[in-house]
Assembly symmetry: C2
Homo-oligomer: 442 residues x 2
């Protein structure tokens, strides 16, 4: 924040959607960025695979394309390497080399950081460099900064997020139009909201990567990524969405973590969210995170979770931090310097409200028998919908009808045992459907 | 973020609600704050008016109370003065002295900063010190940091906020329970949501102070505080809330600013907010801000806008920044170093959709005549509600009935001229009611 300094010279790796968005911001908002930091922020070299490819943002004359990573690493003028390549191994190598060459690194690579971030944080810490990653969680929402800084004095009690725009778009469209999953997925692919191979998104892996990073930022601990319970959205049906609405809920893909007596419970899964919670109102490709801090109470952040400009905005925010000369605080904690393994609540022991849909035999006494199985497993039913007719194709085997209910708080294990018992009971047809529920008392 | 350093020693001025909340956080989350920063954050001395008064948070043994400001200013050990006194002149003197003595300052004093902030920012800038004020806008919501940093690379197009929890509580209660303003105000006072003298809140001044600070952070310019158009909530009636709902809107006290072709339009006023906007869902004493950035698009932040712990959380966030050794960036801009006067769009020229309620003579041709007056002033009616009966006490003079409509975009001047014409027309009784409208296309 002192008088004009040397320009901050950037080397970019990758020139796809986000790279183009970032370059546009740095070029179009150049004077604004100078006003904010007192330094010009200037891209010198971009590492690409195909130098001849046409770009969505035209390359300024003084920016050089290269296919050789060493042109970033060995350039003494380059102070920051911005990694926007995607993938794991190539960016890992590049980031290591950049840090070892004394360059700050900014990355949007959630998969890399979630799965192998700690070794990179260790190098950055040792070298006193920034390894910044605002863009890796929820695009343009400034959630990394908020957890490190704005809410940093709080012990976080819980966080709850809609972390994947593709899944949220699909569930929103299913909800507003009553369409089945695969039909909406196809439309999302046509509109560019879903990849040709949507696996990472719809299976919940992308949300899980973001959740792993959020957990580190909130608590300074590591939930072993391969142990994180993850469930995708492909199994969500239009019928469950409709039943959820009858109870006053929306079905959302939720990434969730809470610290309970020093142990962490976390997971990614479709869940019912009460319509009085702002999270239930997040529509289309938007993302949102709700953080509950011990001092501040619940804070809710909402914005675009992907796209060239929103994600570019987040990368540029990290460049501002570096240009301003702030001290690196990459993990948000310095004691211990790196995330330590979390004490984890086994997923089976997680307590929650549940939504359950059964296809039951349409004869006297069946509901009593279902209730008895639930009671045997210490599960009490909070609300139920008994459907008299079956006009939604859910009852292929007649005479059957759906029985839909919500429980009071129960453990995942208790629910699992009760559902297994019901499945083998003879009076419940098909596999029971079961989702966690976030009530208005979150 | 390096190995353990000396403690960060704090002198606090004021030990009321926020002071107690802050002290509680610093004591109860001491280990957590050390883990975040590598420094102990420790209150040494608190300036109070009445040392014998009982406090809501018990004073730790090693904290000293004083009635002499010099015990903060002249103490070489004290690195940061936290100003939580309230008022204008005493804190102004204290902050000046603290900065001149080389101490960082953290304050929650929105009135002081809005009305006379620049001279303090100038001293802080000259001395290279932090003058931090996260707690002065919307309590626990990290909006200051977000505008400086997380969205700092964006040119802000507009910001729209619910900046006063007292007003929002009152309007929310009027909306959900159909009660009149003064009845709800009395209840709010009994519950402690409104002051005994609620003038600053209900007349919109408090929201205007916050808006002035937001404008500086977003654009680095100064809207002359005394020129800012401000309208309070006391005139909002349960009937207008009910009509607004019929159109799909809620009435909220909105602080609003937008940059249009380099000129700033801003104000504080009750307005209709479309129910699909998250802002319309902000209930009770919560605050929220929606920032529309050129790159990131709309970002929405929501949380508790007041109270000991949320506001204490924001003060503590500023202490984290200082403990981490970040470079001061108090105004969020360094070129120019201080906010410059804004080029302002005269309030009369502001374009908006409007809600208008008239009490018209119940006879043929009146609606045609109203429409003609509007058309003469280039205002077109978008939607109308014609009420046949009058059961809500709005029509003391029979035969009259309410005529309620919303306009397409029009200038404030055009609306003013049309309403003046209607008022003098003979077929409109009572003063017309008129509010700005934020549609779902904000």
């Amino acid at each position: 924040m002192v008088s004009p300094k040397n320009p901050l010279i950037i080397g970019m790796a990758g020139f796809g959607t986000v790279g183009s968005g970032l370059l546009r911001i740095l070029v179009e908002n150049k004077a604004h960025l100078f006003a904010r930091t007192g330094r010009e922020i200037k891209v010198k070299t971009i590492l690409v695979r195909s130098p001849k490819k046409t770009r969505t943002f035209p390359l300024p004359e003084d920016v050089r394309l290269t296919t050789n990573p060493d042109d970033l690493i060995n350039d003494q003028e380059i102070e920051v390497v911005v990694e926007l390549m995607g993938g794991i191994q190539a960016p890992l190598d590049l980031i290591k080399k950049a840090l070892n060459a004394g360059k700050h690194v900014v990355t949007a690579n959630k998969a890399l950081l979630a799965e192998t971030g700690n070794k990179l944080f260790a190098i950055a810490k040792e070298k006193g460099l920034h390894l910044a990653y605002e863009a890796s969680i929820c695009g343009g929402i400034p959630i990394v900064e908020t957890l490190k800084q704005g809410l940093g004095a709080n012990k976080v009690k819980s966080l709850l997020g809609i972390l994947n725009g593709t899944c949220n778009y699909i569930l929103s469209e299913m909800t507003s139009k009553g369409l089945p999953f695969f039909e909406v997925l196809k439309k999302a692919q046509q509109l560019g909201y879903a990849e040709a191979d949507p696996t990472l998104d719809i299976e919940g892996t992308d949300a899980a990567h973001k959740l792993a990073l959020l957990i580190r930022l909130a608590w300074g601990v590591e939930y072993p990524f391969s142990d994180l319970p993850v469930r995708g959205v492909a199994e969500v049906t239009a019928s469950d969405i409709a039943y959820a609405r009858e109870f006053g809920y929306r079905i959302k893909l939720i990434g969730e973590a809470q610290m309970i007596d020093g142990r962490l419970e976390a997971g990614v899964f479709p869940a019912l969210v009460h319509e009085t919670l702002l999270l239930s109102q997040v529509s289309g490709a938007y993302n949102a995170v709700r953080i509950d801090g011990d001092a501040v109470g619940p804070v809710f952040l909402h914005g675009k979770g992907a796209g060239d400009s929103p994600t570019g905005s987040a990368v540029a925010a990290d460049l501002l931090t570096i240009a301003r000369g702030h001290t690196p605080d990459n993990t948000g904690f310095c004691a211990p310097p790196l995330p330590t393994p979390a004490a984890v609540i086994p997923p089976d022991e997680a307590q929650s409200h549940y939504y359950i849909r059964l296809l039951v035999l349409d004869k006297p006494g069946v509901l009593r028998d279902v209730a008895a199985v639930m009671a045997d497993n210490n599960i009490s039913i909070a609300q139920a919908i008994q459907k008299g007719d079956c006009d939604d194709g859910l009852c292929p085997e007649s005479p059957t009808k759906p029985f839909v209910f919500m429980t009071h708080k129960a453990s995942a294990r208790g629910i699992g045992l009760a559902l297994a018992k019901l499945e083998g009971s003879g009076f419940v047809h098909q596999k029971p459907v079961c989702y966690r529920v976030f009530t208005n008392h979150v």
